[in-house]
Every structure is written in C-alpha cells, then in structure tokens.
Symmetry: C2
Amino acid sequence: MKLTILGCYSATPRTLNNTTSQVLELNNHMFLIDCGEGTQVQLRKHKIKFNRIKHIFISHLHGDHFFGLVGLISTFRLLTRETDLHIYGPKGIKEVVTLQMKLADSWTNYNLIFHELTSDKSELIFEDEKAQVFTIPLNHRVYTNGFLFKEKEGDRKLDIEAVEEANIHVAYYRKLVQGFDVINEDGKTIKNELVTKAGLKPKSYAFCSDTMYKEDIVPIIKNVDALYHESTFLEKHAHLGPKTKHSTAKEAATIAKLANVGTLLLGHYSTRYDGLNAFKEEAQEVFSNVELSEDGKTFDF
Amino acid sequence: MKLTILGCYSATPRTLNNTTSQVLELNNHMFLIDCGEGTQVQLRKHKIKFNRIKHIFISHLHGDHFFGLVGLISTFRLLTRETDLHIYGPKGIKEVVTLQMKLADSWTNYNLIFHELTSDKSELIFEDEKAQVFTIPLNHRVYTNGFLFKEKEGDRKLDIEAVEEANIHVAYYRKLVQGFDVINEDGKTIKNELVTKAGLKPKSYAFCSDTMYKEDIVPIIKNVDALYHESTFLEKHAHLGPKTKHSTAKEAATIAKLANVGTLLLGHYSTRYDGLNAFKEEAQEVFSNVELSEDGKTFDF
C-alpha cells in the first residue's frame, strides 16, 4: 500500500503548496482521492500514469478538494482515453461536470460514471475481488465524506513441507492458496489449514478530510494501518475549529488513539503557519506514530 | 502598455506549460484575459496583485481558457476581497460559476458582476475615462470572442514657450492639457492648438484566440500596436486548421499584415511540437515583426 501526497494544504493553491489530492496504490488499484486545482500537473510531475486511475473519490465540493476534477476529465478526453472512469462524490458533482462539458461542447469519448453520495451513514461504494471502499460520514460545513480503503484478504501461503508430505499434486496449489480443501494423490481430502498459513494481513487506509472533531468515526476506522486526518489548526487556533468545522492536530491525534490506528498522517494545514513541525509536536502529545503529509511525499505502509 | 504572458499553450496544462492567460496593464488598468487552470498560481509567481484585477475577459468556455476562473474567484473570497469584480464572457459563464458557489455554499463577499456576451458583431463592452474594450467575434468550435483594448486619447502636451508667450495663468494649464481653449491674463481667448502639442499616441492591443483564419476581423484590429493571434499549428498541420477551427502561424501573420499591426505575438501552440522557433520562422515569411509568447514573458509596447 503506497500513498502519494499530491497536495495537502487548505484553502488555495500557492506557488509551492498544492491543495488536497492523494493517490493510493492498493492491491494494484490506483485510487485518486480529492482533486484540487492543479492536480493533473501534480500527477504529471510524479509520473503517475493517467490510465491507471479508474476511480476518483471526492470528499466534498469545496474548491480546494475538487476544482481540478473537470480539468483532469477534460485532459483524459484530449488524450483519447478509452478506459471507464468512475467518480464518487456528493450529489451535484455530476451536474457541475456535465454543465462544463455542455458549455464547451466537449463530451468524453470514454464512459464517465458518476456515483453520487447522499447518505449520512457509512456505506460500501466500491467492491471488487481486490478491495472495498466505504464512506466515512464527516462533519463539515457542506456534505462531506471521508473514505475507507480496505484490501481484501489475499492468498494464503503454502507450507511447502506440509504440502509435499500430504502428497498433493502441484496442479492443486492454486486452489490451496485460494483457501480450498483438495484431494491428494491417494484420493484423500486434505484440510486447507493443515498445509497452508495465513497470507499477508490485508492493508487498510482511512482518509478523513475535512471535518471537525467527530468521535463517531472511530468504530469505522478502527485499527486501520494508516489514517489521514485533517489538522487545519494548531492548538492556539482551536477556537476556530467548531466555527469553520475543521480539526486541530491534537484532535486528529485523539481520533488516531481512540481508533488504535497504525500511523497518523496529518494534513490540510492552514497556510497561516510558517512551518509544519508544531503540528507533529502537538499531535505527538497524544499519539506517538505521527507523520506529516507534504506535497510530493510518498508513504509505504 | 505592458503584457505579461501567464500561459500560452493549448489544450492541457503540463509541468512547464500553462494554458492561456495574460495580464494587460493599460493606462493603470490590469485586465486579465482568459484564465486557464493554474492561473492564480501564475499570478502569484509573477507577483501580480490580486486586488488590481477588476475586469476578467474570457474568450470562450473551453477548459484551457477558463478552468482557472472559479478557483480565482474563490481565492479572492478567501482573501476577503471587497473590490467589485467584472467578468466578461460567453453566456453560460454565470451559471457555471454560481453553481459551483452554490454547491460549496460559499458566496463571494465582494460584488461579482457578470457581463454575458451573445452578439456575433463587435461591440463595446467596457469604457471609462482611460480605456475602451471591444469584442472581436472569432470563428471557433464554440462561441468565441477576441478582445480589443484601446487606450483613450491622453493629455495634450504644453508648448511651454508658446504658453508663456501667450500670457496664460498657470491655473489654466490643466484645462490646456485637457484640450480646452482658455482666456489669458489680457482677457483674450487663446486657441488650444496654438499652445499645446498632441500627447502620446494611445496604445491598442488585440487578443485573438481561439479562431480559424478569419479575415473579417481585419477592420476591427486595423493598426493596433500589438496583436496576439493564436497559432496552434505549423504549416505541416495546416489541414487541421479548418477541422479544429484553429490557425497556423502563417495565417496569424497574414492577418497581422492585412491589419498593418505593429507587433504580432504568436501563441496557443500545440504541445505536439518540440520547440517554438519554427512558429516564428513560418510567420516571418509573411510579416516581419513577430514575437513568441512564452509563459512568464513580458512585453512593453
């Protein structure tokens, strides 16, 4: 599971700071999460192949999270993309994208499939044999969801000694890693768990931006390997949290602790601050394993 | 008259190439012309003060000319702008901007005044004591206008020797540069042209993008000091001009020659070409005074 931060600042893009966008590589998927203005250029800079992006998740319709979407869709069209593109986001996202295509008289030559979200409960919005994606209802000024990405249970691992001992033909090995019982060369049924071990633990990642402190999300994100939780403010501006419906670094850390996550990633920093170290320090008063998102940084979990 | 090129490439923004946007400084105005994605970052890079921009002219609603507009408007709001902002562009521009403000539940705290254009004739769309702006109807795949910016006649210059000779009180000097006749110390009317000379010749700039070759625009842009005319293609791709409704460098130069302009500025280059020199060379076969737009370049006319 590899995460690339394309942008992690709040409000407006600046010369060196991009607004929110991330790419999550999970079990061969390339999920694009949020799409602030300039995301397409960030994707180019980080040499992420456009065609590998088949699913885009938009948390909410504030500009710093989606003003780059229509440009990306338009660029895919100009590059004669043929691959389907799925967009998950709040109701209204389809109208605003299609209005711009209509005004430009420029329709995509690939299938553009919108999945508009309206529920205030966590729901499964994507599933295939490799992964699942659930919404994480957040509390912001407009309808907002975070997203929980879960890798599915992978193949089991063969216990080669036990497999040979049990006299199983090599043709059955694939069935074994898939978890099935098989019949050996002597016609006897061999229980799967006697000759295989558990595979790698499936990875999970939760993206929570933008939101004020919301403990209700803890059960949904419990035990994830990595949690990105917005931390717009430092403690000295904690009073702005409820007003603007954003969180502090310390609040993000409290959620991380309650949810027992592996790593906490901070981001969505207000550009009023000079550096980022204070965010990490304040979070670490509550939760030790804290990382700072920074534009262009990658994380392997 | 100073022109700053913020972006001059066609189709999509790339790591080093921005799509169309320019700032024209004319008689103390700062006119923003077109606004591709990333324009707000280009404005920051070139240290152009946001508050000096009061009028934005959008030629047409293709993304490479206007996907940066809503982000710029939104950033102005976040920076608590109070100055009115006028937007001139094709019908539909108001709907697409306001829909995005509605979905974000984020309305501007300054006046946003839309001037939607629908005419296929050149019309005066802005005028004050310093300048005028006219549309230049173009021929593109969607409704498109270029813009003609004309400085107004400036003050006349005093012929100091003649003024003193004519025994005119200094209190009348302001009236003289404004072109009025005045009464001298002896009660005699002095004709303005006897004691003043013509001021600086008013400057003019025509912006023409996107369009296929269209001779009808020649009378509108006749004798301008500088003409920006799109040149998407080189001669080897001239056959794509009528299909995509774009021009070649040579066609741009032909228009420049017919209109007897001062300087021709090329731009809106297709990114299929490696360098820009061929654009200049092909244009110069027809018209000698050719300049290449390049992102970040400024021109003083």
